[in-house]
């Protein structure tokens, strides 16, 4: 029996790694990958709690979340492609049209 703390700790570590990537990376694809990491950290939590509570809903939602991650990745890559077409780069530092 693995204590739940370890699951949560794992997910927290993965989440933090994703977080780190999100904050420091400049390349759009890397950022998307970091986001995937964070989503999957959440999935780990969902499954772990579901398992501990003997309630399958959490696992179902983990599946849903994976599907959503696919959507997100698809849209994200599409946006990146559009940006690349427009600017010739996917370095997000140059995408600052939201600036004041």
């Amino acid at each position: 029996m693995i204590p739940i703390e370890l699951y949560i700790g794992l997910s927290a570590i993965i989440f933090s790694i994703g977080l780190y990537g999100l904050m420091t990376q400049r390349n759009g694809i890397r950022i998307l990958m970091s986001v995937e990491l964070m989503l999957n950290a959440a999935n780990i939590n969902l499954v772990a709690f579901s398992s501990y509570n003997a309630d399958l809903t959490g696992q179902v939602f983990a599946l849903y979340s994976i599907a959503l991650a696919a959507c997100e990745a698809a849209i994200g890559f599409a946006i990146l492609m559009a940006i690349f077409k427009m600017k010739g780069t996917i370095n997000l530092d140059s995408i600052n049209i939201l600036r004041w």
Binding site: M1, P3, I4, E5, I8, G9, A12, I13, F15, S16, I17, L19, Y20, M23, T24, S51, Y52, N53, A54, L56, T57, Q59, V60, F61, L63, Y64, A67, L68, A70, C71, E72, A74, I75, F77, A78, I79, M81, A82, K85
Partner: protein
Amino acid sequence: MLNKEFSFTLMGVLTTLYKFFKPRILGIVLALLFLSVILVSVVFTSWPAVDQLPQNLDDPSNIEGIGLLIFTDLVVPFEILSIVLLSSLMGAIYMAKGDGDE
């Protein structure tokens, strides 16, 4: 990156490390901060001790349960999700396709 002047002097290592970490230091610190926050909360939370898991030791698989759940209780989110998936695919294709004249 560490090519031409491959020096093992302490100063050189430190400089290299500094150059490597300087743009990342804030990210690392914040990530560690967040991690520590979560870990501390996790550690200081008293989790209910669950004795038996999973219930059915004979058949550790719960695919069937999940499938049932998907098509009964959670069918509405499922349907919505399918629509979202579909539309996002369409959107992604539309965006990636670009203008027609290419």
